[in-house]
């Protein structure tokens, strides 16, 4: 027995196995990232979704009413991964994603105790966060720590998007890193939900 999910793809509703759903979702997310810099990217995506919906409909019969993980993998191989698609596109488009690794300081909301300042600084210099916390604690004892913390809280933006979280660590923001990062987040959520 398997749990199925009900989705709307290109105006059609499908019942899809849960494992197939998570693969499909990840694929569409990757495509979205791939076309993010493109003018009318949402139009491209909805065209692709409409085509995938058509391919999925071809896989259903009276006796097979649920989209399986094999169906999803097969349709993905027909449509092509972002890498396959960019292999056929102009190189200028591919270079767009290999922007140099910006390195900026952010507040890190994922590892925060108060405002994520120490965690953000630790990520920026790639040091253990307890060292930064200890320094702040000492500064606070000397009477200036709280003020510095407060100023930094105002000055530093919070790392909200995946791209910002990658920038915080100084890695280049490209599709591969974003994918890794999203995958990690996805695994975390899964662990937390005990799935």
């Amino acid at each position: 027995m398997k749990i199925t999910v009900s989705i709307n793809l290109g105006g059609y509703s499908f019942n899809i196995d849960e494992d197939a759903y998570s693969d499909l979702k990840r694929y569409l997310k990757n495509l979205e990232l791939h076309f993010a810099g493109e003018e009318s990217s949402s139009e491209i995506l909805s065209d692709i979704e409409a085509r995938m919906s058509e391919l999925f409909r071809g896989k259903l019969t009276t006796y097979k009413q649920v989209i399986t993980i094999e169906d999803v993998h097969q349709v993905i191989s027909v449509m092509g991964t972002p890498e396959d698609i960019s292999a056929n596109e102009s190189t200028s488009n591919r270079e767009k994603f290999a922007s140099p690794g910006y390195h900026r300081m952010y507040r890190d909301p994922d590892h925060r105790i108060i405002g994520g300042i120490c965690a953000g600084i630790a990520a920026y210099w790639n040091i253990e966060v307890w060292i930064v916390r200890l320094i702040f604690f000492c500064l606070a004892m000397m009477g200036v720590g709280v003020l510095i913390y407060f100023i930094l809280y105002i000055v530093l933006p919070e790392a909200k998007t995946t791209a910002q979280k990658i920038e915080m660590k100084g890695e280049p923001v490209n599709i591969h890193n974003i994918k890794e990062s999203v995958k990690k987040e996805f695994e975390n959520v899964r662990k937390n939900m005990n799935l």
Partner: protein
């Protein structure tokens, strides 16, 4: 030199030309275009087509209209604009020239 890469580079340029050529005969639904391109083996993965269609549409070479379909939701039918026809005529010429040049060198 990477053979696959060279082949991909070659296909890249002609794909755009082929899409316009398919549409020059009649207005088409994206899946019909894909069918023709696949039969002619100029496209490997279908995902390549959609960004190209949207770019050509944004450049004013194509336009589309929605058409009701019996089997499902309304479909997008693409057709060449006047500009698209002129653009294609230009490409036709340069393709002929290219083929002639390559043949001349190969048969020498």
């Amino acid at each position: 030199m990477d053979l696959e890469n060279t082949k991909a580079q070659m296909r890249k340029g002609i794909l755009e030309y082929c899409i316009l050529s398919v549409l020059s005969r009649s207005s088409c639904y994206a899946s019909d275009i894909i069918k023709e391109l696949k039969e002619a083996k100029v496209i490997v993965v279908e995902g390549t087509l959609y960004p190209l269609l949207t770019r050509q549409k944004n450049a004013g070479l194509l336009s589309y209209r929605w058409e009701e379909s019996q089997q499902g939701p309304p479909r997008k039918y693409y057709e060449l604009t006047k500009e698209g026809r002129e653009y294609l005529a230009d490409l036709d010429n340069s393709w002929d020239e290219l083929v002639e040049s390559v043949n001349m060198i190969r048969t020498r």
